[in-house]
């Protein structure tokens, strides 16, 4: 295989925040993303504040409590995206695969497309190129334009990494002309072709097109500079100095590749025998760029070399001497930097400024960077690898902080449980000694008796039973009169008795008529009252049952709580120890990476130092011979 590694110029800031941005875009579409469950809304509240740990916890709690009832797709999509952003790749792919495979989610095409897209990115992060390509190709067209461009960019990257140039180039034609993603894809494709030494004309044309775009921001301007640099490289390789100079001159003097451009320009001019111009370019490089920049180091030794070519040996000797002194200073400074990286100060610098911060944003992870770090390791400090390691370190620190807080609150939970237990004991004793329970039972019996009486009245239509107090008194009087009238012998009945009988019948009839007429109303009112009574007693019964249940189940629940607390305390201790170990490992990794990057730089300076010393000695010798 020609290339053991294909290095892609990654749109770094976007790579790390890509899925977050996508999710945000999705979540901002309120119509598509309506919050139908409070628990999902709570998770979004944390998510929008960048609190991914809390947001994931919200969703996990909601899943456990089964409080995501109305909308299952969007919370699942959010969870998968959050896992991906939080570096839990395996969990993330589990979530997306479940979402895509299960009918239970009944996912819409939009949700499916987003899930395929995020799953593809997940696979890419795990170097699973085949799976990444397949997932990204399954997107059917409902992504937003910005995300669609990014998807095509990732596909181009995947194809390049799989050495499938035709498919990679095919993606370029599917992208929008003015898309930043297309610019990156074009640059990556062109540099891939140059490296592979295949289709050189096409690669050159891609770079030329890129160098001519109307760059509106610093990101686009850097891409244009890089395209010109690559074109200059091709020209130099083809021994076309003039063309290389033209490309170098198009590069900005205050951009990200200025040093490289000035160094290259000097060499192109040197090869074109324009020695003075080449010295001017390198002097410009030395005077305007950071002293520790390796391009500057190269220029420091190149300038006397050209003076030597110009037969100006005194000047060359003087400049070689200056270069040697400069290299010595740098070697001493890098020694100090080694000590600094091995010190606790370095670890303090990469530790989070505020322990309660969740997932600090990338590229702002390191606070108050040591000036020597900037001077000698600026590329490393701004590299994705370093920042990802620091971010990971800070995330572990946050885990430790969370575990500390839980450990701190465990005695409170234990105390709360003891309080509940003692309250329970007090209440139990009090309740058992109280005759309220007995009274409640009596009331319930009386209510039941009353209910059966009402039912009997209703079934017998006994309207007399619903007589009011006064009416009952009348009934009694009429009954007494009736009894008295029965005792009057028929032969002794006179007109007064007859009138009395008539009045008795009349009044009795009137009373009966009134009771019969008002019976439905009175029965309804009575039933209403008894229903209310029934509800109240049912409520009372339910409370009694609940009380009984609490009394019965409380000891078991307390024991369960006890076990849960003990179990969690153990888990906290175990995890704290793992966090401690991981922190040590991560500190070692970051230190080793920094030292390794610094060693590369130091070796280079040592090499320049030796070369300058050798050149100086050689020049002395030749001057001596001449004398």
């Amino acid at each position: 295989m020609i290339f053991s590694k294909i290095n892609i110029f990654v749109r770094t800031t976007v790579l790390m925040l890509g899925c977050i941005i996508s999710l945000t875009v999705c979540a901002e579409e309120k119509n598509l993303h309506k919050v139908e469950d409070l628990a999902y809304g709570v998770s979004l509240y944390d998510f929008y504040q960048g609190k991914y740990f809390s947001s994931i916890t919200d969703l996990l709690v909601a899943q456990q409590n089964q409080s995501l009832l109305k909308d299952k797709n969007n919370p699942q999509l959010l969870l998968g995206g959050l896992y991906l952003s939080y570096g839990l790749y395996s969990k993330s792919s589990d979530v997306f695969e479940e979402l895509l495979a299960s009918d239970a989610f009944n996912a819409t095409p939009e949700v499916k497309d987003r899930a395929w897209y995020l799953l593809g990115k997940n696979y890419y992060e795990n170097e699973m190129l085949d799976e990444a390509g397949k997932s990204l190709l399954k997107v059917e067209g409902s992504l937003q334009e910005k995300d669609e461009e990014e998807r095509l960019y990732w596909l181009n990257t995947v194809f390049l990494k799989k050495y499938d140039v035709v498919s990679a180039v095919d993606m370029l034609y599917k992208m929008q002309d003015r898309s930043i993603w297309r610019y990156y894809a074009v640059f990556n494709t062109a540099t891939y072709l140059i490296r592979a030494e295949t289709y050189p004309d096409y690669a050159r044309q891609l770079l030329l097109d890129l160098s001519l775009i109307e760059a509106n921001d610093s990101e686009e301007k850097l891409l244009v500079d890089k395209a010109n640099l690559a074109l200059a490289y091709i020209s130099l390789k083809n021994n076309n100095q003039q063309e290389a100079i033209q490309h170098f001159l198009k590069i900005r003097t205050n951009g990200g590749v200025t040093s490289e451009a000035l160094l290259g320009l000097g060499w192109a001019q040197y090869r074109d025998k324009n020695y003075d111009d080449s010295i001017a370019s390198w002097m410009n490089l030395v005077s305007t760029q950071t002293k520790s920049d390796l391009m500057v180091q190269e220029a420091l030794i190149s300038i006397p070399y050209v003076f030597e070519k110009k037969q100006d040996n005194d000047q060359a000797l003087y400049l070689y001497g200056l270069a040697v002194e400069g290299y010595k200073v740098q070697i001493d400074e890098t020694k100090k930097l080694v000590d600094y990286i091995n010190s606790e100060q370095f670890i303090a610098q990469i530790s989070p400024a505020n322990m309660s911060d969740e997932v600090p944003p990338l590229f702002s992870s390191v606070k108050d960077v040591n000036p020597l770090m900037y001077r000698y390791l600026s590329k490393f400090v701004f590299s994705k690898e370093f920042n990802a390691s620091v971010q990971s370190y800070q995330q572990i620190k946050y885990l430790g902080y969370k575990l500390d807080r839980w450990q701190y609150s465990m005695p409170s939970l234990q105390m709360m449980l003891s309080e509940k237990r003692s309250t329970y004991k007090n209440k139990l004793t009090k309740t058992l000694g109280d005759d309220s329970l007995k009274r409640v039972k009596e009331l319930i019996t009386r209510k039941n008796t009353l209910l059966s009486k009402v039912n009997k009245i209703e079934s017998n239509e006994n309207f007399y039973a619903l007589a009011e107090q006064k009416e009952s008194e009348y009934i009694e009087v009429l009954s007494a009169v009736k009894t008295a009238l029965v005792d009057v012998p028929f032969e002794s009945e006179d007109a007064d008795v007859g009138e009395l009988r008539f009045k008795h019948r009349l009044l009795q009839g009137l009373l009966r008529w009134r009771l019969e007429t008002e019976y439905p109303v009175r029965l309804w009112q009575l039933k209403k009252a008894t229903k209310k009574l029934d509800d109240t007693t049912k409520n009372m019964q339910s409370r009694l049952a609940s009380l009984k249940h609490v009394f019965k189940s409380a000891p078991k629940e307390f024991a369960e709580f006890d076990a849960r607390i003990v179990n969690k305390e153990e888990q906290i201790n175990q995890l704290k120890s793992r966090v401690k170990n991981e922190l040590i490992k991560q500190e070692q990794r970051i230190r080793a990476a920094a030292l390794s990057a610094l060693e590369v730089h130091r070796n280079q300076i040592r090499l320049y130092h030796d070369r300058a010393l050798y050149a100086k000695a050689r020049l002395y010798d030749s001057m001596m011979v001449k004398e």
């Binding site: 409070l38 809304g41 979004l44 916890t57 839990l88 572990i396």
Partner: protein, 176 residues
Amino acid sequence: MRISTLLLVLFGLLFNQAILAEDKQADETQGVNREIEELKNDVLELNRDLFILEEDLLFSANTQISVFVSVDVDDLFELDSMTLKIDDKVVTNYLYTAREAGSLNKGGVQRLYIGNLTSGEHEVTAFFIGKGPSKRDFKRAVSKVIEKTENAKFVELKITGDISKEQPDFIVKVWE
């Protein structure tokens, strides 16, 4: 010193983004990353369990009441702070940061309060303080009597917009 040095430098710049680790180191890195991934996941699961444990212990369902705040209004109201009273007692005062207010505006839902209530009727009163239309100071209160049963009670305080009146509207919604 040769032109090849320069070509190498340029070549490195263009095609070899700093590769700090060799394959073996890459494997080790992957191993460490896997360990970190497992650790993160284990802490997340523990955090979930402890969260539930705490809630079960402190706010059991038969007494629990949770009050949430949500915003579904554009430009008509900027929330600065909230005061929540239950049965005329202030249970929480909350001052929003710009980040939190922004999160609410995007569709997030904040759990403003969680507490315990006995069964029966209770009055929930919320005071919304912020900037209304034309950035004028705005304070509004809404009240609702709720019936606490044996199930956990969820109350949402929702800020919506009445476009016809160009005024924000405040709703108390009880979730079943």
